[in-house]
Amino acid sequence: MMGVRDTRRTRRVLIVLLAAALALIAFSYSDSSSPVLRGVRHVSGSVFGGIEHAGSSVAGFFGAAGGGSSGQVRQLQAQVVRLRAELSQARLSDADYRQLHKLLQLAGTGRYRIMTASVIAVGQGYQQTVTVDAGSADGVQARETVLNGQGLVGQVTAVTAHTSTVLLASDSSSVVGVSLAPSGELGWVTGPGTAASGPSGMLKLAVIDSAAMLRPGEAMVTSASVHDQPFVPGVPVGVIYKIINKAGSLTPLALVKPYADLTALGVVGIVIAPPRHSPRFSVLPPIPHPAPAITVTVTPRPKPSPSASAGG
């Protein structure tokens, strides 16, 4: 005998719970923007968001501290831990600073007004969403562009008081209108490109013009959306990594390597005021002109052996 038999009570509870879950699904599926659901998410966002915020700072601390001090003499351990903590704090803030610096640089180039935020939680399951620690209290609204120092990250889909949910550009349901850098071809970039082989984290580009010639290495920025929502113009998106020419395909397709590493996000910026004029391609990072990868073979130069010097 292995299974516990379902008593009547068990069945009743099961049925009630399943019905509740199904009702929730149906309710939220039919109208995902109903005020009730928004209220629920708002409350949960304020509750869990706080916990996640605390958790992420703790996790960030430990993550940056990294490793352990195993093998240390016991009496030195306390000191080591303290020093490491200090060092990691320093490193952490340094990394943050550098990210922030780049971000501000980019924002300044594009004349975006941004609200900086940190990623505090990553979505569960298969959806590409993150939570950042800025919310409506900070002036963030839904359908705003999120970027980081490298390029486009995604868009804000939901906002609570102190947290926002960001739908990453790599989500399947995300569609970003882009224009290719030199030619100005219009197209759109959708969620993960499914390449049989090749690195993950790719996006998929489709262009409107069927006669467009795509070349690997072409960069693209966001093209303007209506009322600059959800995407402000001119945010770098990525470069074409590979052209996929499927037989029967109406328009050329390509895999796009996003500028921003969407799997390792730290500090992001939420564009709370779009630029007055589209920056066009000015925000794009300079194209590395000698693009071909250079293989450098380092030949070790014969050096006086340290043992000889030590022996002397």
Binding site: G3, T7, R8, R9, L14, L17, S28, A121, V122, P192
Partner: protein
């Protein structure tokens, strides 16, 4: 209470850990472990289906609404609720074999991952492509299974911790036993799987014996609320006894006064009252001349009164005890009905000699044709919580006890002569004999009932019993109305529904169905069905 708090805390911690740390990890294969899922499964398998369902639903809902939240509210609630239910249905396993529990949980978790992906695809096809699911799922399941043993171990530790302390405070043993016996019918008090008592719902027949408050037992007592406890002549078997498990009929204030009530009971309701708590002839056990055939009809007993009709109950039906209520009073400890964890430990410790204030009704009163030596046993209380063990081997070899025959053993001095004489002369223990015995503290009769002999109905031989110890395997056969459980095969209790769910079916068939059938009666617990009625009189 403590357990619920612990569950809530652990879920919240796991949730935050999952969202903040784990989901951001980059692991080879693309998947990440789902800590919340694994935790739900582990909590469910240590907690039973109801607890598992509620836990899973709550955890899933939290995962749905905690930012960033899922796309469709309720998808994780649905999936995890099912996970909790399925894992909770396997909650027996975890006390038997860690390996089997792990395997079962692995199956549940793998299915759950697939189900989550399926729900995601079904609800939002744009969000997840089949190709990506195929790519991610294996590694995700692999990581889940990797962390599963640790989480399960922690869950077992937590359960033990939650149950170890508060035995006298908030863990109500009475409800615990009632739960065990009655199949967890009490609302909100499901204390699902105590590690120690293995009281399975294997008896599904009318008149089958239940340990604990059977449904019928309670119902019967409710029907005769005024009847004082005692050896009530009922529809028991000759020599079967019922524990007065009925707390509702028993005045609570009288608890100290009525430490024991071994009731010979049963209702006449026949088919409707299932689950008599019956003590099958424990007292006569060992007194007969056939210690190795305790089931043989003893000349001692002809249940002289209306109480013991040879046709009505189960020969050697099961037992119930009062222990639950008594457990709450450890200091005075008027009775210790004990389930030891060793072979042959099912003992009724001093039930008769327990002192009690005069004037209270219950006691071993009335005619007691205690017949049919050694069919069953009684005992309920579990003093120790068994530690969750992660090993499949068993404990030390069973203590070399005297033969595992039910014994009526004296501890210190001999029983009062009258008592002995009473037994000797045909099994009628007059009340005054018992009372006199009770007054003399010394000669508290100790009722040791052990499993291990043919026809024994067993209690007690608990965890320590190895299944390899053949003689200890109770065989309910050899005496007329009993059939060998091996031949009967898996028997489904009828709890209102005759049907079995698909999962239940898969669970009992697919994974070791044969093993289950062989261990249904006479596994390590030995406390399952005591006597199974074949129907009819004999």
């Amino acid at each position: 209470m403590r357990r619920s708090l612990l569950a809530v805390t652990s879920i919240v911690v796991a949730l935050v850990l999952q969202l903040v740390v784990i989901n951001g990890l980059h692991l080879p294969g693309g998947g990440v472990p789902d800590l919340v899922l694994v935790l739900v499964a582990a909590l469910a398998i240590t907690g039973g289906p109801v607890r598992g369902m509620v836990t899973g639903f709550a955890a899933g809902l939290a995962l749905d609404i905690a930012p960033p939240g899922s796309a469709v509210l309720g998808e994780y609630a649905l999936a995890f609720c099912l996970v909790g239910w399925a894992a909770g249905k396997m909650s027996r396993l975890v006390d038997r074999s860690a390996l089997r529990a792990l395997l079962a949980l692995a199956g549940v978790i793998a299915l759950a991952e697939v189900a989550v992906a399926g729900i995601s695809i079904g609800l939002d096809p744009a969000q997840l492509s089949l190709a990506r699911a195929r790519q991610v799922l294996p590694s995700a399941i692999g990581y889940d299974l990797l962390i599963l043993p640790f989480v399960l171990y922690l869950a077992l530790l937590a359960r033990r911790w939650a149950e170890a302390g508060p035995l006298d405070s908030d863990l109500d043993p009475a409800s615990m036993f009632a739960d065990v016996g009655s199949g967890s019918r009490r609302g909100g008090q499901h204390r699902p799987r105590q590690p120690q008592p293995k009281l399975a719902f294997s008896a599904g027949r009318p008149h089958d014996g239940w340990v604990g408050t059977g449904l019928g037992g309670r119902a019967a007592a409710l029907r005769h609320p005024a009847t004082p406890h005692g050896l009530r002549p009922g529809r028991g078997v000759p020599g079967s006894a019922a524990g007065g498990q009925n707390r509702s009929a028993q005045p609570r204030s009288g608890l100290p006064a009525a430490p024991v009530s071994i009731r010979f009971d049963g209702t006449r309701g026949g088919g409707k009252s299932r689950g008599f708590g019956v003590i099958g002839s424990p007292i006569g056990a060992g007194l007969g001349r056939h210690p190795h055939h305790p089931g043989a009809r003893s000349p001692l007993v002809r249940g002289g009164s209306r109480g013991f009709r040879p046709h009505s109950g189960t020969p050697g039906g099961s037992a119930a005890g009062q222990a639950a209520a008594l457990l709450r009073r450890p200091p005075s400890r008027p009775v210790s009905v004990k389930f030891g964890s060793r072979r042959g430990d099912g003992s009724v410790g001093r039930p008769l000699g327990a002192p009690r204030p005069a004037g209270s009704g219950p006691g071993l009163a009335g005619p007691s044709g205690l017949d049919r030596a050694g069919r069953s046993a009684l005992g309920l209380a579990f003093r120790r919580q068994a530690a969750p063990r992660f090993r499949t081997g068993s404990l030390a070899p069973p203590r070399s006890r005297p033969k595992a025959v039910p014994k009526f053993r004296r501890t210190k001095a001999g029983p009062p002569a009258a008592l002995a004489a009473g037994f000797g002369a045909g099994g009628t223990v007059a009340q005054r004999d018992l009372l006199s015995a009770r007054r003399r503290q010394a000669g508290a009769p100790r009722l040791h009932l052990s499993a291990g002999r043919r026809g024994d109905a067993l209690f007690g031989s608990g965890r320590g019993l190895r299944r390899s110890v053949r003689p200890a395997t109770p065989r309910l056969r050899g005496s007329g109305g009993l059939r060998s459980p091996r031949r009967t095969g898996p028997r489904q209790p009828r709890f209102g529904y005759g049907r079995r769910s698909l999962v239940g079916f898969l669970v009992s068939r697919g994974i070791g169905g044969r093993w289950l059938a062989s261990t249904r009666v006479g596994g390590r617990a030995k406390v399952w069905l005591i006597g199974r009625r074949n129907g009819g009189s004999r």
